[in-house]
């Protein structure tokens, strides 16, 4: 708040009403509703419900399908995060270094930000098409009998590759702007002290990029968990079957396809706790974040 603030009594409330009422109706109410449903068992026609305590949670944690989805989600998140951060960092370092064509490279590497995830999924379906997909053909010529939607790990591979492709631009933009905010004087001092490019990168540039990296780590985990929904839904063509799926996708499948309201709500609550934990973690990181400027 500013020192010289207005003292009007009703205007600020009026200004806040639209935002707060939308949050109340479309955020809090559904969240509370999900919390409540997670303790109930609904009959399939939605006529009655019985209080069952923690039994939805118990059957969730005892379900092998949920365990498989959880393990897949962890592996998927790790792979997507590490690969897209790594590739983007390499590209950002190079794009920061070159002089000629710098702007063109930047544009070519960031425009994919605007591609909708399901459209990325459609491209994946063509690239991995079983009869003539270019990438599937490449693997077949190497002796790997690639079959999207049939073999569990092949489908997982396609999901990871498409998700990495879609996430590189965001990471690239943040890394590049992080690199460009390193003062010239620091770079020049490093040049004098350390003649090796690699040494300079690991001793000076990398630590200076650490705050950006931490921030991106959280962003990428959130992306892998939630924003890949469109990619996964397109790749499995809405037919989960034996395919790998993330926990977020499972909430949707069990709730909408399976009509298991209680179980789906329990999954939602588990995810809310997960997001809460991540946000707290992020804030502790931000508090400790070192500023070099």
């Amino acid at each position: 708040m500013k020192r010289a603030a207005f003292t009007n009594r009703w205007l600020p409330i009026l200004l806040l009403v639209p935002q707060i009422s939308i949050i109340g109706i479309f955020f809090y109410w559904p969240a509370i509703h999900a919390l409540r449903s997670s303790f109930y068992l609904q009959d399939p026609f939605g006529f009655s419900e019985t209080f069952v305590g923690f039994s939805n949670y118990a059957s969730l944690f005892n379900s092998p399908a949920y365990g498989r989805a959880a393990i897949f989600t962890v592996c998927f998140t790790l792979l997507v995060t590490i690969l897209s951060l790594g590739i983007a960092l390499l590209l950002a370092v190079k794009a920061d270094k070159v002089v000629r064509g710098a702007k063109t490279y930047r544009t070519l590497l960031m425009w994919v930000y605007a591609v909708a995830p399901p459209v990325a999924g459609v491209m994946g379906l063509i690239l991995f098409n079983q009869s003539w997909g270019p990438i599937a053909d490449l693997f077949k010529s190497l002796g790997w009998d690639f079959a999207l939607g049939v073999h569990y790990y092949d489908t997982a591979f396609a999901m990871v590759l498409i998700s990495v492709w879609k996430q590189i631009p965001v990471n690239f933009i943040f890394f590049l702007s992080g690199l460009q905010s390193i003062p010239k004087s620091v770079r020049e001092a490093a040049m004098i002290d350390n003649r090796s490019t690699a040494g300079r990168f690991w001793d000076v540039t990398f630590p200076l990029l650490a705050p950006t990296g931490f921030f991106l780590l959280i962003t990428n985990i959130t992306y892998s968990l939630f924003d890949t929904f469109g990619i996964i839904d397109t790749v499995v063509k809405g037919e989960p079957g034996n395919n790998p799926m993330t926990l977020v996708y499972k909430v949707y499948v069990d709730g909408f396809r399976g009509n298991d309201l209680g179980g789906s709500s329990a999954q939602s609550v588990v995810l809310m706790v997960l997001v809460l934990a991540m946000t707290v973690f992020q804030f502790r990181l931000v508090e400790r974040r070192i500023h070099y400027t």
């Binding site: 600020p12 935002q19 544009t107 591609v115 399901p118 999924g121 590189i168 949707y252 939602s268």
Partner: protein, 292 residues
Amino acid sequence: MKSEIKTYTRPQIKLLLIFDHGVLILGAAFMILPVLMLLQMTTMPDLFNMKTGPSLAIGDQLDDNFRKAMFEADGFSGANTGVRMLWNSMILGLGFAAGKIVLGMMAAYAIVYFRMRFATFAFWIIFTTLLLPLEVRILPSYEIVQHLGMLNTYQGLIIPLIASATATFFFRQYFRSIPEELIEAARIDGAGPFKFFVDILVPLSQTMIAAMFIIMFVYGWNQYLWPTMITTDEDMFTLVRGIKQITQSLEGTSLPEYGRANMLALVAILPPVLIVIFFQSWFVKGLTESDK
């Protein structure tokens, strides 16, 4: 750290430069090739696509596929032509961006510029929305929209999603950086809170508004899960929502219409991509300053 002095010869420097460009060209090719592949397939007849898939051949079917994608519908009602879906996407993108900016600016103004007992409380209420992504509250949200009779309406598509912690924080951050003297001067000149907002704050925030607008337009345009759930009428489909229909129609038919499907996918990505490319500096500003 001390390492022995290493000097590069001229050819070595040249080699390093070629390597740097090589990495960047590979990266750029990795990003762009899938889209060129979609484009190539739209120029070929469907029979060819079905048999051979993507190739290096350039055919003459481009305008035919464009006509089919934009003006012919594949659904039962005949309502989901490309033009109709483009229109719906445009409304969703613009509505999203405008709504989030207006609500975000109003809330940020209230929090930053007014002496208010529960400013912190309001801030926390808005903040906690970050903890509740759509995906975790999807079923009950759907039910509420259904009870309100907003299924298959533009209101139902836009309103439930326009509360925005991101936009609110972005403008809060910016308002705080505006010098205090400005509001003092405005008050001495007799400007009330409304006049100050409209005549001073909004014009000052133009760049910020533009930056946020691009981010939120792309975000709204690319919505998938929400439109998939609450629109069942084909004349309410957005392009991104239509993708689901497209991939499903490729499955069952004897002659899958790859040309038409890929054309629709291209139309779905073109407007947001063009905006990001042409307003690049605003876009980067909006992205890097709103998320931190």
